[in-house]
Amino acid sequence: MPTGTLQIKLISGHSGSVPGRGVQREEEVCKYVDVTTCIGCKACEVACVEWNDMPFGQTTFDNTYQTMPSTAWNYWNLIKFNEHHREDGTLQWLMRKDQCMHCEDPGCLRACPADGAIVQYTNGIVDFQQENCIGCQYCVTGCPFDIPKFNGATKKVYKCTLCSDRVGQGLEPACIKSCPTGCLKFGTKADMRALAETRARQLREHSGFPNAGVYDPPSVGGTHVIYVLHDLTKPELYGGLPANPQIPASFTVWKRFAKPIGLMLGLLAAPVAFLHFITQGPREPQPQMPDPDRKAGASGVPR
């Protein structure tokens, strides 16, 4: 994957320092998605497939306009449709562009045991480097948004790259470029957040959506894809967006602390055994037969 001018600040499964950490001034990028003005035209889906030259798959009719139930190894960007009845009886046809959220604290990267299979650039993009992937699929379990998808033939995992190759050359991602309504924007995290807050305020004050807000979950350190939602209190309505995304404790507390401490304690058995050998000595076979009626422990033979 060509990285252009991208520097790496975090590497999965890596012991030791990361050369690119803190060595470059870089703005964090962000993809802005205004769910309230999306028309579900799927230009972004097509742009992603075309830019990444992904092979076409077979889909089946499933009583929805949604192309397929979930992202796939060859389909990284998916509009999720949901017909929602509000309390006042009106109907909303909710459409949310689903793809990797590029978390600041990525669960996939935390879970990955393979050195260099998942990297995070200084601009915030989380990218898979399939050459180093071992196909264990821990990232699938580690991701709170269920994004990475496994390909059984290549035994690797794939997901949205936030067009790291385009961004590395100073271009916006393919989906952003293709959007006809302007509900997708790309820029620095600060700029996109400001835009999102402005739009959310507009929805609250002028458009009758008192719960409108910006989805940028702090539980994963914030994300480099932010949504403007009509109703921030019910993100699950938008195709199952988690309200409080969490990385499973197995890949945080357990992996970070219990594993190394456990290993060190376990390996301690070797020096302890050696110490035992040099202080207690081996138990040599005895030249004389023991007295069969001796009490257990009383041998009478001097050490």
């Binding site: 050195d115 076979p285 041998s299």
Partner: protein, 241 residues
């Protein structure tokens, strides 16, 4: 059921005996026949391969050291479950072989309560009730059985995550680690006890025989039964292998 196990065991041992050789010198005792030795070392080989390939994935600290042994990361991940399956299958046969002499009795509880004397090498001889296997060896045996079950139950979902889902993988991740650490410690202790700590032990598993002196020092009750000597009032019946 036990009858079937015994018959399989006898048949396997007899078959092995026909094609192998164990030389018993004057003054030595036969401890582990060829069948047992074959099982032990093939289980050990698969165990070590599974241990090394598993610990490669266990922590980034070991990843770069251990994955080259198996041809890289993807190969390590691919091979680890197969090594483990080989270990489980062969160990199952070994369990059938050793079920009887490894069964727990009241003397084993007594031995465990006096563990400090054993570790501190307080006595020259083992207590006279120590039979073919002492309680420490039995504890290791049963710990491997429990760990193997935990490895299987936690490992299969991690081998096929698409089938079993994220919750089983996240839970299995922790259980697999716990069993692995217990087995790591047990393995180190086992190798120490079988080599440097008790001279004359390793040959029992390589050549199959031990000296009389070794036998009456470490496993007095087995020695008395194997040589037909009269026992004490507390002598209990039981086969040793």
């Amino acid at each position: 059921m036990t009858n079937l196990v015994e018959r399989f065991d006898e048949a396997a041992r007899a078959r092995f005996g026909e094609h192998t050789r164990t030389v018993i010198h004057e003054g030595d005792l036969l401890r582990h026949p060829a069948y047992t030795r074959f099982l032990h070392w093939s289980v050990a080989a698969f165990f070590v391969l599974a241990l090394l390939s598993g610990f490669a994935i266990y922590t980034p600290w070991l990843y770069r050291w251990l994955t080259p042994l198996f041809g890289g990361g993807p190969m390590t991940r691919l091979l680890h479950p197969w090594f483990s399956l080989g270990f489980v299958v062969l160990f199952l046969v070994q369990v059938l072989n050793w079920l009887e002499p490894m069964s727990w009795n009241r003397d084993d509880g007594r031995w465990m309560r006096n563990l400090r004397r054993y570790v501190g090498n307080v006595e020259e001889f083992e207590p006279e009730y120590v039979d073919f296997f002492n309680a420490g060896q039995k504890v290791y045996f049963w710990a491997i059985i429990v760990s193997a079950v935990i490895f299987l139950i936690s490992g299969i979902p991690m081998w096929f995550p698409e089938t079993f889902g994220r919750v089983m993988v996240a839970v299995g991740y922790v259980l697999h680690d716990l069993a692995a650490l217990v087995m790591l410690v047990g393995f180190i202790v086992h190798v120490y006890e079988g080599t440097a700590s008790q001279p004359g032990t390793l040959r029992s598993m390589t050549r199959g025989t031990v000296e009389k002196q070794w036998a009456w020092t470490h496993h007095p009750r087995w020695f008395r039964r194997a040589t037909g000597l009269p026992g004490t009032n507390e002598n209990r019946a039981g086969k040793g292998r």
